[in-house]
């Protein structure tokens, strides 16, 4: 059975901390892995990863994929209160499978 597992499920940090969110997967016909940020409504797109070892970066956020070990990480450096959200990992195979998400809370 295809599955996507994120860890930790929740995380509380203080502003300025660096966090690493994990996503492991077991799916058939892997095509890509996507990271989303969800605040109050629909998820917003962060990154799409298709190749191992190539880091994607956007400001303080970065992500990398390991297709051999079947996982991805999302790093956020110098966290801010505006980073508080649920971060979702999704794997694109024949459909799209989402993990349960990691709820990040950044305290002032």
């Amino acid at each position: 059975e295809d599955k996507v597992v994120q860890s930790p499920l929740s995380l509380v940090v203080h502003e300025g901390d660096t966090v690493t969110l994990n996503c492991s997967y077991e799916v058939t016909n892997f095509r890509s892995l996507l990271w989303y940020k969800q605040e109050k409504k629909a998820p917003t797109f962060l990154f799409m990863l298709t190749s191992s070892g190539i880091e994607k970066k956007s400001g303080r956020l970065s992500s990398i994929l390991d297709k051999k070990e079947l996982f991805s990480i999302l790093n956020i450096t110098a966290t801010q209160t505006g980073d508080s959200a649920v971060y979702l990992c999704a794997v694109n195979n024949n459909d799209m499978r989402f993990g349960a998400g990691t709820r990040l809370t950044v305290k002032p």
Binding site: Q6, L88, N92, D95, R97, F98, G101
Partner: protein
């Protein structure tokens, strides 16, 4: 650009009632999806479609039906609403090629009482 549009945004149903959540996209995407998200939980796939006339079950299809008569529209039908179907429903779409990005609608908040 409209993107993915869902209606209604909010709805309260009585147990046993039926309703249809509408979803339309104007990006000519082949793939469309319906997800539900329960409070504090991740997204779960209900049904998906890889093109007009083709639909398939996702993780939690029971109690729902879909159709895809056109590329643009992918309605989700609840036949006999149950309290367990109280959730937020997201419609989404993507291109069919590998490594595609998925685009979401704004969500439909459904309460069954």
């Amino acid at each position: 650009n409209a993107g993915v549009t869902q209606t209604p945004k909010f709805r309260i149903l009585k147990i046993g009632q039926s309703m249809t959540l509408q979803c339309t996209q104007d990006m000519n995407h082949n793939y469309m999806y319906w997800y539900r998200q329960d409070p504090g939980m991740g997204l779960k796939l209900i049904y998906y479609s890889v093109g007009a006339g083709i639909t398939d079950k996702g993780e939690v299809p029971n109690g729902y039906n879909v159709s895809r008569s056109t590329t643009e529209d992918f309605p989700l039908r609840l036949e006999l609403a149950a309290p367990s179907q109280t959730s937020v429903y997201f419609c989404a779409s993507s291109y069919s090629t590998a490594g595609n990005t998925i685009y979401f609608g704004e969500g439909s908040w459904l309460t069954v009482v």
